[in-house]
């Protein structure tokens, strides 16, 4: 891992600050710390930043700052320990029963496990929020147990429902909108994790930790109704 990040232009209006090339909590912590330090520095011309697993993308207004001048400013940033703040812990209700677990049996068969075991493994792990992306409110998670490592489908399957819990390629994901996908659907959360009327629209933050709490189909239906009326449904733990 390089001691200092690489600064890589992405056109004349964006810059990638790259800390490494792997999915690694320590790398993601560096991304978060840099992002927080950058927000505190309030460098003119920065439009917004996008933290990912391993890099921070900075979108800027080229009328206010040019690429080389921005890199010079970034090199001066002082990033102290703890700059990224303390991650929050969340409990998120999920249902692994039909009709929410469309691919659970298929995954169990492919991995040589029972469906109950797959659900127990998925619900038993602690996950880390690495980034949001692809579509509004899609939550990319690390921490999937190695026993659940399954490759992506060769061809995408029809759209998964809102709140679907997906796995593939050693990663886990919560899909906030129906989309076709090459990932496998193990269950669903009744929580509506993205709400444009909330500020910020997603309560979870990058670096936060997540545990899933299994609920039955009746509880899912009740919680989905409450979520539709604006209840958070997810709980923050101490």
């Amino acid at each position: 891992m390089p001691a200092t990040p690489r600064f890589l232009p992405a056109g004349e209006s964006a810059l990638v600050v790259e800390f490494g090339a792997a999915i690694d909590p320590a790398l993601n912590d560096k991304v978060r710390a840099f992002d927080h330090a950058l927000a505190a520095a309030a460098i003119p011309g920065i439009v917004e930043t996008l933290p990912t697993y391993r890099s921070l993308m900075i979108h800027f207004d080229p009328r206010q700052v040019a690429t080389d001048a921005l890199i010079a400013e970034l090199r001066k940033l002082q990033i102290g320990p703890g700059a990224a703040g303390v991650p929050k812990h969340w409990s998120i209700p999920v249902c692994y029963e039909p009709p929410h677990a469309e691919d659970l049996a298929e995954v169990a068969a492919a991995l040589g496990l029972t469906a109950e075991r797959v659900a127990a493994l998925h619900a038993g792990a602690e996950y880390r929020v690495y980034m949001f992306g692809f579509a509004p409110g899609y939550v990319f998670l690390g921490g999937l147990p190695a026993e659940l490592n399954i490759s992506r489908r060769p061809k995408p399957r029809p759209p998964v429902p809102q709140g679907a819990l997906l796995i593939a390629g050693g990663q886990a994901l919560i899909a906030n909108r129906p989309m076709p996908t090459g990932w496998y659907n193990l269950g669903a959360t009744p929580a509506l994790l993205f709400d444009p009327k909330r500020s910020p629209p997603v309560a979870l933050d990058i670096g936060d930790r997540i545990r899933f709490t299994p609920v039955d189909g009746a509880a899912f239906a009740r919680l989905r109704r409450e979520a539709a009326e604006g209840a958070p449904v997810i709980e923050q733990k101490a």
Binding site: L50, A135, P136
Partner: protein
């Protein structure tokens, strides 16, 4: 209905409400959206004295038909993409500022070149704001969808005061579609060896398909020297992804904020609208420039577009454009070798 509004009689696929874009939410998976051809979009607004990024219509190859269903006049401006616009059945040209009297009918049909045209209204459209913007992000399922017949577009109270009718003769609305598209290499240019980069910058590529999310290009295979799986990172407008099939995929206004294929470079913002207007079947080629050169080119085009009012010529009569029959054919299925000029 007393408030000024436009009624959509019919709209083909691709007609959406856009503004300058939705910023600050990429970290939550929300792309900015915004116009595919920002220079044409801003020109339509500036011809009316609007803010450059006021909400306006982006109209795709399916065209649109609208009517002023308000009790008073509505000032509009349209331009971009070489479309043919008609007022009450009379050809009104490709770029103009008009006053629509109550009951007036306005239609856009694809012309001989281009994919997107824009219609701005005095004061801007007053469709709902979500996350600070009126831009439609169709693929994300947010902020409305594509327009269709029966839709109703609320306008500002002062929508009837546009000034004189005029033709818009701004030179940037008639770009040289054969000029190379400027590209800033990176951030994953180190996934390609010198021979692959040389090939990319010397060979012609043909646009084969596209939508607001991405344009596919076909040409010689651009081989990766270190594979094509990278851990997802951020994506900017104009990113040139080289996917597993070794063909370029250029990410456009509705691209996801993150992506997983190596990005050879980015199309300069100054040239992104020119690419957006290339129909399938058209060829393009690329020229490498520095980020600073791309920045200077962008600011120069922005500065030129701001002078739109000085390119508005009083409209005395509608000039028939001989030999330009309106076409109902979708450019996405057309393969030809048309020239804009």
């Amino acid at each position: 209905m007393e408030a000024p509004h436009l009624s959509v009689l019919s709209a083909g696929p691709g007609a959406t409400v856009q503004d300058g874009g939705r910023f600050g939410f990429r970290r939550y998976g929300v792309t900015p959206a915004g116009p595919m051809d920002w220079a044409a979009f801003r020109t339509a607004n500036l011809a009316l004295g609007n803010a450059p990024d006021a909400a306006a219509l982006e109209i795709g190859p399916g065209g649109i038909e609208l009517v002023n269903a308000s009790p008073g006049p509505i000032g509009v401006a349209f331009c971009g993409g070489g479309f043919s616009w008609f007022r009450d059945g009379q050809l009104a040209g490709a770029a103009a500022r008009l006053v629509l009297t109550p009951g007036a009918h306005l239609a856009a049909r694809p012309g001989v070149a281009g994919i997107f045209t824009y219609l701005a209204v005095v004061g801007g459209l007053r469709t709902p704001v979500e996350l600070g913007s009126r831009a439609t992000y169709t693929r994300g399922g947010l902020y409305g969808g594509m327009l269709q017949g029966g839709d109703f577009l609320p306008l500002a109270e002062d929508a009837g005061t546009p000034g004189d009718e005029a033709m818009i003769v701004a030179p940037w609305l008639r770009p040289d579609l054969d000029a190379p598209l400027r590209v800033v290499v990176g951030p994953q240019d180190d996934y390609f060896d010198a021979a692959a980069l040389d090939l990319f910058f010397s060979a012609p590529f043909k646009v084969t398909a596209g939508d607001r999310m991405a344009y596919r290009l076909d040409g010689p295979a651009i081989a990766h020297s270190r594979g094509y799986n990278i851990v997802s990172d951020g994506v900017a407008l104009g990113a040139i992804q080289i996917a597993g099939d070794k063909k370029p995929l250029v990410l456009m206004a509705d691209h996801p904020p993150t992506g997983g294929y190596p990005k050879l470079g980015h199309i300069a913002r100054a040239d992104i609208g020119r690419l957006a207007q290339l129909r399938p079947g058209r060829t393009c080629h690329f020229a490498q420039v520095s980020a600073e050169t791309a920045r200077v080119a962008l600011l120069a085009l922005e500065d030129a577009v701001v002078t739109t009012q000085s390119f508005c010529r009083p409209l005395r009569r509608v000039v028939a454009l001989a030999g330009l029959p309106p076409s109902d054919r979708s450019p996405w299925s057309a393969v030809g070798n048309h020239r804009l000029r």
